[in-house]
């Protein structure tokens, strides 16, 4: 999945900077993941797009919960 489109739509309101695709870490039920997501490298703000939260991420949550 490529979220470069989202990266151009949103900007960091805190510093006014651009978002760029950066490796973002996630953890859930002893599982660790890294995903390239739009994020503000200066402020640490990350963007989890709706499509990711309701799609692949929800799927991964369910799989981990069943382990």
């Amino acid at each position: 999945m490529n979220f470069s489109q989202e990266a151009t739509v949103w900007s960091c309101s805190s510093c006014g900077g651009e978002l760029s695709l950066i490796k973002v870490g996630f953890t859930y039920m002893k599982g660790n993941f890294e995903v390239d997501l739009p994020a503000c490298s200066a402020c640490g703000l990350v963007l989890v797009p709706e499509s990711l939260a309701l799609g692949k991420m929800a799927e991964a949550e369910r799989i981990l919960e069943d382990k």
């Binding site: 151009t8 739509v9 949103w10 900007s11 960091c12 309101s13 805190s14 978002l19 950066i22 490796k23 973002v24 870490g25 996630f26 953890t27 859930y28 660790n32 993941f33 890294e34 994020a39 490298s41 402020c43 640490g44 703000l45 990350v46 963007l47 989890v48 709706e50 939260a53 309701l54 991420m57 929800a58 991964a60 949550e61 369910r62 799989i63 919960e65 069943d66 382990k67």
Partner: protein, 776 residues
């Protein structure tokens, strides 16, 4: 679940029991599968089905006296399937190889004396199992009395061809042998076991005990003669007439006994169902078209293939599936309770690291009990699933997402924003204690408060109030700890109030109290109303055509008294009643029960959607969640309390929309506030800063975020965080903001834009995965 519990559960479901045809067949030929293959036009597969169980299918397929037909369930609806005639056609048209799978050769040598149908069957069975078999026959050919059957029924070349299979199975065949006592004694010495075909040996003295028919006496279960290693069978023609299929069984039985003897296991153990037996399988004939039996145009030649296909298609493929036919949940997982019990058992034994695929299944059952009502054997999935949920909680593999929202909702009801226990204003004693239920307060706060005022007017001795959740969500979630805590709180409050009689307006609360706190002697609000009189405020407003389909809640299944009471109230209000198909003892759940809506929201939506199609009339519910769930599915539905204690007269309660989870909580708070006001008390609630944010949410967005179980409280927290910390993103497209926050286990995302002195919520979504942050 322990192994013995699994066995008990499995035994309760009868779906895998043999159909009548197979049970009636002495050989247990799978006639259902045989007919299914013909229905598909696969005659070779049909032949294979026969070949699996029948010895010499070419012979038996032609001459079988088909006792299966007598017990065929098709009998009363058009006449039994002509299984015998179909078998005949099947073996007649079979031109493929006649294969018999032999097991590895064993060292045991067995002698068969007499080669009638029983004798050759015994030889066939033993050879298949790998034994070394010698057949001794006085005549010059195998088959005995088979040769006496009419040529037209059993052509001679078929006898020869079929029996020659024994040679390919490596039988040692000796013809023209004089069968007498000398030979018998000699064979008893040389062979490990001997089988006697009584059809060929009648009248020959072997010094064995005889029965009344002059046949060698045997144990009916095993064919044992009383002499070690000597078994006998056959001779049905001397006992009421030759039955080819019983004669075959007569050969099969001693063969199986010999196998057991050689394996040194008990001869008799577990053989009760050998031969014709009864079956527990239930098959409903409801809706089966009574198609008459197909008659062959040429009665001499029998069925053509076309006729046979038509006849086979009359087979209804007997099975039970009564519960699966009624329950969308059981249907959706493509099995039936016996299979599900096994899956649940296995699910509890998954090795660490592997996926437990049945977690959601276990937690999707609404526990409504419709399965138990329709099951001929009272299988209740609810008990099975609730027990499994408790195990999941105990063994710590209950997925946290499945119940968290529901348990948080329960915690809200039992927290300071709703929970309350007071005597009636101005009184210090309570003869009664009104327990309106958290979900009813959540959907009809004004009506609940009016009903409380009514109870205070009509009942003497003081009517106290107890606002609390009965603990049902914890019970359904398998959380015995939380359930006990809720009930302990209620029991303590009830005792503190002087043990008054509990009045509840919710069927689930009533059910929970009756089952778990019977000493409270709970009674329903509707029952009290019938006793003390319909309230003056009652009106039948807003009902289309003045007729309603009454939606009985699933928990009233075993409470016909309350169900009748509701109908009496409706009649008193002048409302016409339509009885829906799933009413009385047949109601299905609305999707709330068992927390189905929480563990499997898509299924819960489908269950309700299906139920809305049962009638075009408005529905009338007397369970808060039924009302809200039907309303959410777009059905015109009102709650009884909206007619008994209407906020306004002449309104249209059935037009009232669905209720969001946020509204439910706000409404509960409102009930508490109104009751405290009546008591002259005031809640000094300290509102958090974020709670003061003004939100505008369109109905579309509201519906979407509610389905995602996002509360307005969560949204306020996120926006407050974004606005006060500045940690938010801004859209270059429309200037809206996006902020996120993880107040508990869930991270909420809200897209919003400032509007006036508040905010318009454009979207919200959430996930449970924790954000660690940017990786270096």
């Amino acid at each position: 679940m322990e192994k013995n519990e699994l066995v008990a559960w499995e035994n309760k479901c009868i779906q895998e029991e043999s159909p009548e045809c197979t049970s009636a067949c002495p050989l247990h030929v799978n006639a259902k599968l045989f007919l299914k293959e013909i229905q598909k036009g696969d005659w070779d597969a049909a032949y294979k089905v026969l070949n699996k169980t029948m010895p010499f299918p070419g012979i038996l397929g032609r001459i079988c006296d088909h006792p299966c037909e007598e017990r065929c369930k098709r009998g009363p609806v058009g006449g039994p399937i002509a299984i015998g005639a179909l078998e005949r056609l099947c073996v007649e048209r079979y031109t493929g190889k006649k294969r018999v799978q032999l097991l590895p050769r064993k060292d045991h040598r067995i002698a068969v004396l007499g080669a009638g149908l029983a004798g050759v069957t015994a030889a066939w069975d033993l050879l298949k199992k790998g034994f070394i078999v010698s057949v001794f026959e006085p005549g010059d050919r195998l088959g005995g009395s088979l040769w006496d059957l009419p040529e037209q029924l059993l052509p001679r070349e078929v006898i020869i061809e079929e029996l020659s299979i024994l040679e390919t199975m490596m039988a040692d065949i000796r013809l023209g042998i004089k069968l007498d006592k000398v030979l018998f004694e000699q064979l008893c010495e040389e062979y490990e076991a001997v089988i006697l075909d009584r059809d060929s040996l009648r009248g020959i003295d072997l010094s064995l005990k005889l029965d009344n028919d002059g046949l060698i006496a045997t144990s009916p279960a095993t064919g044992a003669t009383g002499r070690d290693g000597v078994f006998a069978g056959g001779g049905t023609r001397f006992r009421g007439g030759f039955s080819p299929v019983m004669e075959t069984l007569e050969g099969r039985k001693p063969a199986l006994s010999i196998e057991r003897l050689m394996q040194k296991v008990g001869l008799e153990f577990g053989r009760e169902n050998e031969g014709p037996c009864t079956t527990r399988l239930f098959t409903s004939l409801e809706g089966i078209d009574p198609l008459p039996r197909v008659v062959a145009a040429d009665s001499v030649k029998g069925f053509t293939e076309q006729e046979a296909l038509l006849e086979a298609k009359r087979c209804i493929q007997c099975e039970c599936m009564e519960c699966v036919k009624k329950c969308l949940y059981l249907e959706r997982y493509k099995g039936y309770p016996k299979k599900y019990a096994r899956e649940i058992f296995n699910n509890e034994r998954i090795l660490l690291g592997a996926a437990r695929h049945y977690n959601v299944f276990v937690n999707s059952c609404s526990t409504c009990g419709l399965c138990e009502t329709v099951c001929p054997n009272d299988f209740y999935m609810g008990d099975l699933c609730l027990e499994a949920r408790r195990t999941m909680v105990d063994q710590k593999f209950m997925p946290p997402s499945l119940h968290e929202f529901a348990l948080q909702d329960m915690a809200h009801s039992n927290g300071e924003l709703f929970s309350l226990c007071r005597h009636e204003p101005g009184k210090t004693e309570s003869a009664w204690l009104f327990f309106p239920s958290c979900q009813l307060c959540g959907t009809t706060p004004g009506e609940v408060v009016s009903s409380y005022r009514y109870l205070r007017d009509r009942l003497s001795g003081g009517v106290g109030i107890l606002l609390h959740c009965c603990g049902a969500p914890a019970f359904w979630a398998g959380r015995e700890d939380l359930f006990k805590e809720a009930l302990d709180d209620i029991r303590a409050a009830w005792a503190e109030m002087g043990k008054p009689r509990i009045i509840t307006a919710c069927s689930t609360c009533l059910n929970i109290f009756q089952e778990h706190v019977p000493e409270m002697k709970p009674v329903s609000l509707w029952d009290i109303i019938l006793q003390v009189g319909i309230p003056d405020s009652a009106c039948a407003h807003g009902i289309t055509g003045n007729t309603v389909g009454v939606v009985d809640p699933c928990v009233t299944r075993h409470n016909p008294v309350d169900q009748k009471g509701i109908r009496r109230i409706l009649k008193a209000l002048g409302i016409q009643i339509e009885e829906l198909p799933l009413s009385g003892e047949m109601p299905e759940c609305c999707g709330y029960g068992g927390l189905m809506y929480n563990a499997n929201p898509a299924l819960a939506r489908d269950v309700v959607a299906r139920r809305t199609t049962a009638s075009d009339n408005d529905y009338l519910a007397y369970c808060a969640m039924c009302r809200d769930n039907f309303a959410s599915a777009g059905k015109r539905v009102s709650h009884l309390i909206e007619h008994l204690f209407p906020a306004v007269t002449g309104g249209d309660p059935a037009a009232r929309s669905w209720t969001s989870w946020s509204e439910r909580r706000a409404n509960r708070g409102r009930v508490k506030e109104m009751i405290l006001r009546d008591l002259g008390e005031r809640e000094e609630a300290q509102a958090e800063e974020y709670e003061k944010l003004k939100l505008t949410i369109s109905p579309d967005v509201m519906k979407r975020i509610d389905a995602r179980r996002i509360l307005q409280e969560d949204i306020r927290k996120v926006i407050f965080h974004g606005e006060t910390s500045g940690k938010k993103m801004r859209s270059r497209q429309n200037g809206s903001y996006l902020a996120y926050l993880q107040p508990g286990n869930v991270t909420f995302w809200v897209e919003y834009s400032p509007e006036g002195d508040g905010f318009t919520v454009l979207n919200a979504y959430c996930h449970r995965m924790n954000i660690v942050g940017i990786m270096q």
